[in-house]
């Protein structure tokens, strides 16, 4: 029995595929820290960890791997993610990018999959657009706590967005109304309400979607998914919005793929 024996059902070439995979995780808070740890456990070969922030005391309720000492030392979230990944898999190649993802475009462009764990809907929208432009499957996770008459509702979603399928705008995750609401107020239970267990459920679902892209585990792998999480009931199910999608994403036409305004002239190539 070795490391891989319990996941050999993923397929006889899956270990090679996982070693050769480059997955970018954008946002290393409650969701992204879970994702990084799981990618290390399944032996993904290269993990690109992106987050400009440093850990604070309010992150300790959910940031996997974060410690009180990290808070005292004001460590970068990318450093914590890298340490956590290396503790599990010392052979993993980890590229830590302690910047806004918009400053890491070159490494993101050549990623096989991007997993977005971003709070802001505007940021999700922009990352979806980027992934569509560079033909990268994009898995987005998000959770919210809403105040309702009987208390609080924990809700979340996991979306797999890729060309040929619906984007976040097609599925109604990103709308002008949501963007406007976000600009006014975030959540209904105070600033950025987040807890560890829904993050874990959503992160695990996102990793599952990534693995079915990389390995022949599923007979019929999906290129589009919209999973909704009801944290009060404890269920995760396919959203009716995916089934209701009429086909044909109007938001990201194929002719936009590649660098905008690319010209051969003026470049030197290796």
């Amino acid at each position: 029995m070795d490391w891989y024996s319990r996941q050999s059902f993923l397929g006889h070439e899956s270990r090679h595929a996982l070693h050769a995979a480059r997955i970018a995780v954008v946002g290393l808070g409650g969701g992204g820290s879970h994702v990084c740890q799981q990618l290390a456990h399944v032996e993904v070969g290269k993990i690109i960890a992106i987050d400009p922030d440093r850990i604070g005391a309010s992150n300790l309720n959910r940031l996997v791997g974060g410690t009180r000492l990290d808070v005292l030392l004001h460590r970068r979230k990318t450093s914590i993610a890298k340490r956590q990944i290396r503790r599990v898999n010392p052979n993993a190649r980890v590229l830590a990018c302690p910047h806004q993802w918009q400053k890491c475009l070159d490494v993101l462009k050549w990623s096989d999959i991007v997993i977005g764990c971003l709070d802001r809907v505007r940021a999700k929208d922009e990352l979806d657009a980027f992934c569509r432009r560079y033909l990268i499957p994009f898995v987005d996770i998000g959770m919210d706590v809403h105040q309702i008459s009987s208390g609080y509702l924990i809700a979340g979603q996991v979306v797999l967005s890729f060309v040929g399928g619906p984007c976040l705008r097609c599925l109604g995750v990103v709308t002008d109304t949501v963007l406007a609401d976000e600009a006014r107020q975030y959540g209904a239970a105070g600033a950025n309400p987040q807890v560890v267990w829904p993050n874990g459920v959503l992160a695990s679902s996102a990793v599952g979607l990534a693995i079915q892209i990389l390995t022949p585990w599923q007979q019929l792998p999906v290129e589009a998914a919209f999973l909704q999480y009801d944290g009060n009931v404890g269920t995760i199910s396919e959203s009716h919005r995916l089934a209701a999608w009429s086909g044909g994403c109007p938001h990201y036409p194929a002719e936009q793929r590649g660098d905008p305004g690319f010209r051969l002239q003026g470049h030197s190539f290796a």
Partner: protein
């Protein structure tokens, strides 16, 4: 020169289906891809497939030297589509069978004649030619009208499942 190419897996399946259709007299069908491009941080050029267009049955011509070829109308239509979106243009056909495909001598000779001509319409983008097998692909791309072509180094058919492979 390092050249990488990404194409949507679902589009590759459509292309194979189209190229496998029988034609009245042409032994091989051909089609055209349009591509966008991006410079990577290691100086490599990433080509990203945008779309595919088939060649109409009527645009094939009988040719005693090789059986059949496509006429000027097919090239003109493909160039017009590529020009509108400022895309690179890629001539593509299939040899079938598994494994890394290889261009024939006729492929190479004709490609060296027609691909540099694409730069007349769209000088700012790379252009090339590709050949598919049932599970792999190979390609040659030109970055200048008068330069020598460079082979694709690696290819990814992106989707579920993802397929990445060395193309040389």
């Amino acid at each position: 020169m390092k050249l990488y190419l990404k194409a949507p897996r679902s589009l590759v399946l459509q292309i194979r289906t189209d190229l496998n259709r029988r034609h009245a007299f042409a032994h091989e069908r051909v089609g055209f891809l349009t591509v966008g491009a991006s410079l990577l941080d290691d100086g490599a050029l990433l080509l990203i497939v945008r779309d595919y267009s088939r060649v109409d049955d009527a645009d094939y011509e009988e040719d005693p030297s090789c059986g059949a070829r496509i006429g000027g109308g097919a090239f003109r239509k493909a160039l017009e589509r590529a020009y509108r979106a400022r895309s690179g243009l890629v001539h593509i056909h299939s040899h079938g069978g598994p494994g890394l495909p290889v261009f024939s001598k006729i492929d190479l000779k004709s490609g060296k004649e027609f691909v540099p001509g694409f730069f007349e319409a769209i000088p700012s983008m790379p252009h090339g030619m590709m050949v598919l097998s049932s599970d792999r692909a190979a390609g040659l791309f030109w970055l200048h009208k008068r330069g020598a072509p460079a082979p694709l180094r690696s290819v990814a058919f992106v989707g579920a499942p993802l397929l990445k492979f060395e193309a040389q």
